[in-house]
Symmetry: C3
Subunit: 314 residues, 3 copies
C-alpha cells in the first residue's frame, strides 16, 4: 500500500479487521518491523485522540515519532501552480512535501475542512498535494472530507460486537452547537457499504451527505423509524453538504433512552469528543450499550494496522 487516504485503500476489509484484532491481542508482536523507521505526524488542526493513538500505534511497532503542530502562526502552505508568492504563504507544497519526505519513512497528516467552499474542501488539496509530491507514503489523520482511520476503527468495533445475524447499522445525525465537517460521517458511510450489513442513514431534510458517497444507501428522515431493529446506532453531527457548512441544533434529533428503546438493544457508537446532553443523553452514553470507550481504544489498532501494511510493503 502506498497511501492510506480513504477507506477505498483497504483492499480486503474482513482480513484487515481480523488482523487489527490480532494486533490488539498482542500489540508488540511486530515491534521489530518499525525499528529505525520514523513517522512524521503533521497537524494543521488540533488533535488529542488521533495524536495519542497514532503515536502509540507507531511506538507499538517500534517506530520513532516526530510530531509537528502547525498552530495559527505555524506553516502556511501555497498549493497553486505558478502563484506569485508575495502574500501570507511562505512555502509551496512542492518543496514542503519533498523535504518532509526526506526526514520520514511515513508522513501522517491532519487538515480539516474549512467549510467555506464545498468544491475546495472536496478537492482535498492538502492531502492530495502531499500524496502527489511526497516520496513516502501518506496517512490521512482526518482530511477535509474523510477520516478513514476512524472508519477502520469503527469496522473493528462493529466486528467485535456484532450479532450472529446480519446486523442493521444506522448512521444518525445529531445536533451540535458548532458546524462540523462531514468527514467522519462520509468515511463511516463508505466503510459500512463494504460490510455485510443492512445500512440506513437518518438525518433532517437538507443534511444529505454527498450522493457520490452515500450511493444507494437508503435515507430515512424519520429517526425513530430508522432506529427500529437497529443493532448499531452510530451518531455524529455534520453540517449541510447542500447548503454547504450550514448547521442545525434541532434537539429533536438528540439521542435519548426512548429512541434507543426502539432498537434491537443496539450498541451506541460515537467517535468522540461528544457533547453530552446535546448530542446524546447521559442515560445513553453511560449505559451498558455504549461502546464509545472501546471505540477510542481501537483507534490505536486501526492506525497500527495501517502502518504495518505500509511498512510491510516498503
Amino acid at each position: 500500500m502506498n497511501n492510506y487516504f480513504s477507506v477505498h485503500d483497504i483492499d480486503a476489509l474482513t482480513s484487515w479487521v481480523e488482523e487489527a484484532i490480532d494486533l490488539k491481542k498482542n500489540p508488540l508482536s511486530h515491534k521489530e518491523l518499525g525499528k529505525d523507521k520514523t513517522i512524521g505526524l503533521l497537524f494543521f488542526n488540533p488533535s488529542l485522540r488521533t495524536r495519542l493513538s497514532t503515536q502509540k500505534a507507531a511506538l507499538n511497532l517500534g517506530m520513532n515519532v516526530m510530531v509537528m503542530n502547525f498552530g495559527g502562526e505555524g506553516w502556511s502552505l501555497e498549493y497553486g501552480d505558478g502563484t506569485i508568492m508575495d502574500q501570507g504563504n511562505s512555502e509551496h507544497i512542492k518543496e514542503a512535501a519533498q523535504v518532509v519526505s526526506q526526514y520520514c519513512d511515513i508522513v501522517a497528516i491532519r487538515a480539516f475542512a474549512k467549510l467555506e467552499n464545498r468544491e475546495e474542501d472536496y478537492e482535498e488539496i492538502v492531502l492530495k498535494s502531499f500524496m502527489e509530491y511526497a516520496s513516502v507514503p501518506i496517512i490521512n489523520m482526518e482530511s477535509a472530507t474523510g477520516h478513514p482511520l476512524q472508519a477502520l476503527t469503527d469496522a473493528i468495533t462493529i466486528t467485535e460486537y456484532k450479532p450472529i445475524h446480519k446486523p442493521k447499522i444506522v448512521l444518525s445525525w445529531a445536533p451540535h452547537p458548532k458546524a462540523l465537517p462531514q468527514a467522519v460521517a462520509n468515511s463511516f458511510a463508505e466503510m459500512v457499504q463494504k460490510m455485510d450489513a443492512e445500512f440506513v442513514i437518518t438525518h433532517p431534510m437538507g443534511f444529505e451527505l454527498a450522493s457520490q458517497i452515500t450511493n444507494e444507501v437508503p435515507i430515512e428522515y424519520d429517526q425513530g423509524k430508522a432506529f427500529e431493529n437497529a443493532d448499531f446506532v452510530y451518531v455524529k453531527n455534520w453540517s449541510s453538504y447542500k447548503d454547504y457548512g450550514s448547521s442545525s441544533q434541532d434537539e429533536n434529533w438528540r439521542i435519548t433512552k426512548d429512541k434507543m428503546d426502539l432498537t434491537n438493544n443496539a450498541k451506541f457508537m460515537h467517535c468522540l469528543p461528544v457533547r453530552r446532553n446535546v448530542v446524546v443523553d447521559d442515560a445513553v452514553i453511560d449505559s451498558e450499550n455504549s461502546v464509545v470507550i472501546e471505540q477510542a481504544n481501537n483507534r490505536t489498532y486501526a492506525a497500527q494496522l495501517v502502518m504495518k501494511k505500509i511498512l510491510e510493503k516498503s
Copy 2:
C-alpha cells in the same frame, strides 16, 4: 501506589528519599522497568522544568513519552455531572480520562489554580476527576493546590545538605509582581511536617496558608526572627488564601544578604523560576549557600522515583 496526587501518597519518606538518591547515583539502573511502557504528560499550563525533568525521568526508566500541550485553543473539558454541553467545553472528563488511559500506562497532569474561586481551586476538580475516571495511575505535575513532585525534590535536597543536628527549616514568603498559587508552599509545608525538623513559616499578615495544611506549624510574622538559627531558608511567593488570590509586592520581604546573615549559614532554596532582585538578591542566589540548581537537578530523580514506585506496583 495508585496515584501520586499529594505528598500524603508517600508512605515512608525517609526510604523514598534514600531510594531517590540511589537513582541519582545510577539513573539508568532500572532502564528495563519501563520498557514498552508509555507515560502521557498532559499540560493544561506551561511548563519547562517539570516537562523536561519528568520526560528525562521517564527516559531514564526506558519509558516512551507522549507530551500534549493544551494551549489557549486546546482542549477544554467539562467536569459537571449532567451538564448540557452546549457551551465552550467540547469533551467531558468522563470520556477524556478513560480514553487517554487506554493509550498510556501512566498519565501525568499539570493544571494550575485559576485563583478566582477558592472553593473551586481547593476541590482539585481536574486532578480528582482524572483519578476518578482514569484506569491508570495519575501523577500530579502541579495542581491547583499542590506540587508534590517539587516537595519530594525538596526533601531530597534537604537530606543531601542537612546538618548532623536536627535542622531548622524556614518557609518564607517573598514579594512577586504577579499573583501566584499556593501550590508549592502547600506541598512544601506538608512535606516538612513529615520530616524530623524544626519548622517555621514566615509571611506578612494576611498571607496565612490554609490551616488544614499548616496545622500546628508555628507562624512567625517577623521574618528576621524566623531566620534566626535556620539551616534552610525555602523561599516562595504565594497569593493570599484568606483574601483569595490577592497579592503583595512588599519589598521588605525580599531575601537579602543581611537577612541570610541572621541564619545558621542556611542553604537558600527556591523551586525556580525566580525573579532576581525582587524575590531574592543576586548576592544570595549567587552565593555558595544557594542550592537552587541542585534542587532543579533533583526534580528528575523525584519524578523517576515516583514512576518507579508506580511501575513496580503495576
Copy 3:
C-alpha cells in the same frame, strides 16, 4: 568540540564534509554513540526543517530528543546582570541555562534576530549566554546573526555537485515581501571563505553584509555580471545591515531563467522555504539544475555530524 556556535567551530572543513557524506551513506553507523544520551531542542522561533532534520539526526545517533517550543506566552528570559526582574521576564538566563543543562547532554537553540537593534542582535546574547552558563555543549540552530548548520549543509551540497575545476560560487540577494535576518547569508559567506573557490556576493546597493563577515570577498552590484561563469548560485533574501532591518522587494533581482543562462550551467541553491515567483521563478527552481531538495536532505547529515563530533569528545 564544546559548542557549535558558528562555522568557525569547524576545525577542518574538508574532512568534516567527507565525514558527513559518509554518514549520509550509512546514517545508522553510529547508532550506539548516542545511546542513553539526550538532546534538548529549544525553539524560541518556529521551525520545520531544522526541527525535523535535527531530531532525525539525533535519532540516527540513537539519542533521545526533548523538544521545547517557546511560543508567544512561553518562556521569556532575562539576560541583564543585576536587573530587578519586576517586568515581563520570569527567569534569568543564569538559572535557565544551568537547569536545562542538567536534563540534557547537548542543548540546541534557535533564537532569531529581532531586527530592531543591530548591536543587540550582533551581540548574540541568547546563544552566548547559554554558552556561558550551560554545563553542556550548545548547538546553534539559527541565531540572530548566523545559521551554521545550514552553512555546513551547503558545504556538503556544493562538494557533492562541484565540478573538477575550482568552482565559482555566487551569493545573490533576492527580493522578499518580509524583512529577513542576515543569518543564513552571513554563515554561508563565512563558510565559502573556508573553501577552495572563487566567491562573489551580489546585491543591491545598501544591502552589504557586515564587513567583519565578508572581509575581502568581492561585491558586485551588477547581478548579471556576477552570474557569469558561476557554477553555483546561492540565493537568499536579507534585510539591510547598514540601514538595519530595512528591506526591499526590488523584483529586478528575482532569479530568472535568463539570468541562470548567464552562468556556467550553475546549480541553483536556496535554504528554503522559498517564495516562488518572488525570489525565484518556477522555471529555475523546477529545473534540473535546482538542488534545493537535496540541500534540505543534507540538513540531517550536517546536524548528525555536529552531534557526532560533540558526543565523541564528551
